[in-house]
Homo-oligomer: 251 residues x 2
């Protein structure tokens, strides 16, 4: 049984709490949060970092810029303290304790259940025993547990910005454009789903379709005529150029 | 029973054939294609447009720039002839026959089954009877059948370029970057899936996360340091700027 204390109870903290609470080999001893927590009945909570119990592992699930400060406020020493961030280096944690990272590579929202079995857990630590513990903990909730250095994790996080944040923004541009022209965004949802499902088995470069890769200047010209907004035209041109460049075709 | 002849047997033609063949109220009388078709045993095929039988409906499932030419080569008159393109206006079809559009808004690949029930079918025609027939045909295969004018369809198609072609290109950039740094793209697949699933119920503007919307200059600067390639930097900056603009925050 691995005993865990979760520090921070935002999206990531709450999702981790739920999945650990369901896992047979994990016991969440306590949750610490800046503001009082409600709705967690069978786990002790605290708002005071000085009141933390003793546990195998302390998980700081806090915003990037709060991680270092929280790790420095801990009053004990030589215990295993990890954070859950994609972009913060392990070294940023206080030297008073043993350092590690437990990064679930997924986007978490308040109201959506996440199937952790599919979520890659990227872990890192300085010592063999700590690596083994984090790997064991990861395996309790996910089928994909991988050792990833801080350097590689930063690159993963950048790639995730392209695949998640930027992608979602394209959905947003698509929605805004349709709404402006009185068309229901719902019509776009099955296409969005299938686009993502395709690359679960196919490489994105094989899955690429559309006027840019076809070198279809006529359709591209038509599309540019349909957009008055400079922002849309700028992004359309920029990505069209990048597609034709990536696929070795000049437009 | 609606009798249909499919002209063109690429991705869209083949998927339509399969789903019509399974539908109880549709009979595919014949398939016409430029090159001989194999693997279709119980439906007559031809490579000669002069040999087309009589049917309720002729569906031209051909590349955009071939549609007009094919419609002009048809040797009969006053029958219902539709195309399946998102971006070609209905008016491009020959005046010799009654015009229409039957546009399934989805991305089709050779080796992937598509669940047509979820695919929006956008139809259009000049006459009441033709509209009723296309609506009926659409309802045989899909739960979402919508009357869409050529003008609106062109806009839908543009929005689909953002939500599908451009999105897939971001997956591609993400994959290329990871591969270059020896990291497996598989790690990104669950995130890609969840990003798409989120906007099936949530608006993309509510689902937006990441450094750009958080106004997190530190992470943005870190990311820019991790990209040497000018193309990546250009797209990163362009989309970051667009996110903060869309969400009313200046970076």
């Amino acid at each position: 049984m691995i005993s865990v204390i979760i520090i921070g109870f935002g999206n990531v903290g709450q999702h981790l709490y739920r999945v650990f609470d369901d896992a047979s080999g994990v016991s969440v001893l306590q949750i610490a949060s800046r503001s009082p927590i409600s709705g967690v009945d069978h786990t002790p909570t605290t708002t005071d970092l000085k009141q933390l119990k003793e546990a195998d592992l302390y998980i700081i699930a806090a915003p990037d810029d709060a991680i270092e400060g929280i790790s420095e406020q801990l009053t004990f020493t030589n215990r295993l303290v990890v954070h859950t961030s994609g972009s913060v280096a392990m070294e940023m944690l206080s030297d008073e304790n043993r350092k590690g990272v437990f990064y679930p590579l997924q986007t978490f929202s308040k109201d959506r259940e996440v199937d952790f079995k599919e979520v890659p857990i990227c872990y890192e630590a300085d010592y063999e025993d700590d690596l083994a513990l984090l790997k064991n903990l990861g395996s309790q909730i996910s089928e994909k547990v991988v050792l990833v250095s801080s350097e590689k994790r930063a690159k993963l996080h950048l790639a995730a910005v392209f695949a998640n944040n930027f992608t979602n923004h394209l959905y947003h541009l698509s929605e805004t454009y349709l709404t402006k022209h009185g068309i229901d965004f719902e019509l776009m949802q099955p296409l969005i789903k299938e686009t993502a499902m395709k690359v679960q088995s196919l490489s994105p470069s094989e899955a690429q379709t559309g006027p840019a890769i076809r070198k279809d200047k006529k359709t591209i010209a038509k599309h540019l005529q349909l957009m008055r907004d400079r922002e849309y035209r700028r992004i359309y041109k920029s990505l069209t150029k990048s597609i034709s460049k990536s696929h070795g075709k000049k437009l």
